[in-house]
Symmetry: C2
Subunit: 326 residues, 2 copies
C-alpha cells in the first residue's frame, strides 16, 4: 500500500474573496491549511467559522522569509497558493506602492519559500496582464497592451513581473511554479465595497440606489462564478508536472456587455433597475474575454454555472452582508 | 550671493559601461560622487584612474537600505542615478533571477533612499520596454509588445515594473523620479564580451574573425554614441521639476540594418569583412528606433555624433582592450 503523503497548503491571501473559497475546498479535500493574510483587504469573517481547522497567521508576504515558513505547525508545505494582492481597482489604486510591493516582493518571497520547501507553487495572475487588449478574445500567448506608467500599472505590471519571476523560477530553480490568469470572478465572500461591477450592481440594487454605469456600458466583461474558478485552480494543482506548458486562463468565456448585465440582474431581482452614468476611468479595458482552450485541454475544465444562477446566490449573500451592516 | 548647494550623486552601477562615462562627467561638473556597484558586470578598470576622487563602495542594490545611504562620506545625496543592471542579453540572461531582482528590488530600494534623502532620482529604463514593437518608430506613449514569460522577460518586465514604481513614487511619495529609456548605445568602456552587435562586430573585426550576423541581418537598430547619451541624461537631471512629463527616449533615431552596419565598419577599418550567419535568438526585436521629439522639446537634446565617427573611437578602444588581453 502506498504511503499517504500529507498535503499541507499555505494559502497567502486566504482571508480574501477567492481565498475563503479555496481554503474551504482544500479542507474538504483533506489538506492541512495554513493561511497568511495581512488583513488589509482580507476579512476575518470570511474564515471565522473555520476556527482551529486552519492555522491562521496574520502575516505580510512583502517581508516574509524562508525562516517564517520553516517551523509551521502543519509541517512541510507541499502547496503554496499565492492569492495575496488587492485585486479590485479601487483597492489596488488606494495604495499603489503597497499593491506593487505585495505582487512583486511578495511573490518573490513566496517563490524562495517554495524552493526551500520543494512546494508546488500556484500563482494567481490576472486578465489584467492583457491590459486594454488589441486582440479579442485573449489567449495565453497574447502579450498584452499595458501602460507601464499609468494608474493601473501597479497591479498590471506588478502581476506581469510576478509572472516573469515564476517562469524563471520554473526554468532555472526547479520550482514547479504554475500560473493561472483569473478573469472577472464573482460570488459569496466578495467585499461589499470591492468596487467592481458585480458588487457595485448587487449592492446598489439591494439598497434601491441607481446602478452606476461607467462610460456608455458597451464595454464587455466575462463573469466567472467563484466555485467554477476554484475548481479550475484545484485542477491545475492536480496536473502532472510535465503537462504544464505555461499560463492558463481561468474565466468564463460567455461575454456580456455592462448593459446586458443590468438586464440579467433585473431578471434575478424581478425589478426594473434605474441606472446612472459615470465617466469611464483612465485605462479601463473596453473588452475582456478569455480563450479557455488550454484549460479545456490540459485540465478538462470549463465553467458550469451560468450568470443568472451565480448572480442569484451572490445577491443572496450581499443581502445578508448589507443586513449585517445595518 | 546665493549659497552654493553641494551636489552629491550616488551612481548605482557606476563601474559599468555608461556609469563610467557618467561618473566622469559628474566629476567635471563639480559633483561629489559615490559609486555603488556589486562588480558583477561592472569593471574595476573602468574607474581605476579616478582613484580617491570618488567614494567607491562595492555594494549590491538588491539589499541596500536607507541606513546604508545615511552616513556617506560625501554627505546627503542630492541625485541618484540608477544604472545598476546587466543590460546585454547574454549578461542579463545568464542569471535571470539576479537580473529581475536587480531591476525590481534594486530600484525599489533606491527609491526608498531617494525618498529618505529627498534626492532627485534618475532611472535608466530601456527601449526593451517596447519589446518587439508593433509600432515603428517608438514614441514614449507606445505601450510595447513584451512577452511576460519569455527568455528576455527578466530584463524587459523587470524594467517595466521598475518604471511603474518610479511613476508611483513620483505620484504618491513626492519623489522627483524621472525615467529615461536608453536605446542601443556604444562607445569606450563597453565590455568586450558585452555580446551586443557593436562589440561583437568590433572585436571580431580586430581579431580577424568572421562577423557574426544573427538572422538575415535585415533587422534594424539605432546606435547612439555614449557621450551623446550621457549628455541627454545630464540634461534630464537639469530639467525643472514641473517640466518633466513622463519617460523620455534617449537614443539615436538614425536607423541602420545590421548589414549596413557591416558596411560602415568596413569603411572604418578599411577592410573587406567576412561574415557568418547565426540563427536569430527567440524574441529578438526585429526593429527598434526612437522617436526623440520629447527629448528635443524638453531637453533641447539630440545626438550629435554620427555612427562612423563614434565607431572609429570605439574600435580604437577595443583595439587597446584586446591588446591588454593578449
Amino acid at each position: 500500500m502506498p504511503q499517504t503523503i500529507e498535503r499541507h497548503a499555505l494559502v497567502a491571501g486566504g482571508a480574501g474573496f477567492i481565498g475563503a473559497h479555496l481554503v474551504r475546498d482544500l479542507l474538504s479535500r483533506g489538506f492541512k491549511v495554513t493561511v497568511w493574510d495581512n488583513m488589509r483587504t482580507g476579512r476575518e469573517k470570511n474564515l471565522a467559522e473555520l476556527g482551529n481547522t486552519i492555522d491562521f497567521q496574520k502575516r505580510d508576504i512583502r517581508n516574509s522569509t524562508v525562516e517564517d515558513a520553516a517551523g509551521l505547525k502543519n509541517g512541510r508545505i507541499t502547496h503554496i497558493f499565492n492569492l495575496a494582492c488587492p485585486a479590485s481597482p479601487p483597492h489596488y489604486q488606494k495604495d499603489p506602492i503597497y499593491t506593487w510591493e505585495t505582487s512583486v516582493l511578495g511573490t518573490r518571497n513566496l517563490l524562495h519559500i517554495a524552493e526551500a520547501q520543494e512546494a508546488l507553487f500556484l500563482h494567481a495572475s490576472t486578465s489584467e496582464v492583457y491590459g486594454d487588449p488589441q486582440v479579442h478574445p485573449q489567449s495565453e500567448d497574447y502579450w498584452g497592451n499595458v501602460n507601464p506608467v499609468g494608474l493601473r500599472s501597479c497591479y498590471d505590471e506588478g502581476k506581469r513581473a510576478a509572472e516573469t519571476l515564476c517562469a524563471d523560477f520554473r526554468r532555472f530553480k526547479n520550482v514547479d511554479a504554475r500560473l493561472f490568469r483569473i478573469f472577472n470572478t464573482y460570488g459569496e465572500f466578495m467585499h461589499p465595497d470591492d468596487g467592481r461591477v458585480i458588487s457595485n450592481f448587487c449592492v446598489a440594487a439591494l439598497k434601491k440606489e441607481p446602478i452606476p454605469i461607467y462610460g456608455d456600458g458597451s464595454q464587455t466583461r466575462s463573469f466567472c462564478y467563484v466555485a467554477d474558478l476554484v475548481a479550475g485552480i484545484l485542477a491545475l494543482s492536480d496536473l502532472p508536472r510535465e503537462r504544464y506548458s505555461g499560463p492558463i486562463n481561468l474565466g468564463n468565456p460567455h461575454e456580456f456587455s455592462i448593459r446586458e448585465l443590468v438586464q440579467v440582474l433585473e431578471r434575478v431581482t424581478g425589478q426594473k433597475l434605474i441606472t446612472k452614468n459615470l465617466p469611464l476611468p483612465a485605462d479601463d479595458p473596453k473588452v475582456r474575454k478569455p480563450v479557455i482552450d488550454r484549460a479545456r485541454d490540459a485540465l478538462n475544465w470549463e465553467p458550469k454555472i451560468e450568470l443568472e444562477a451565480g448572480l442569484k446566490k451572490t445577491l443572496a449573500y450581499f443581502a445578508l452582508e448589507i443586513e449585517g451592516v445595518k
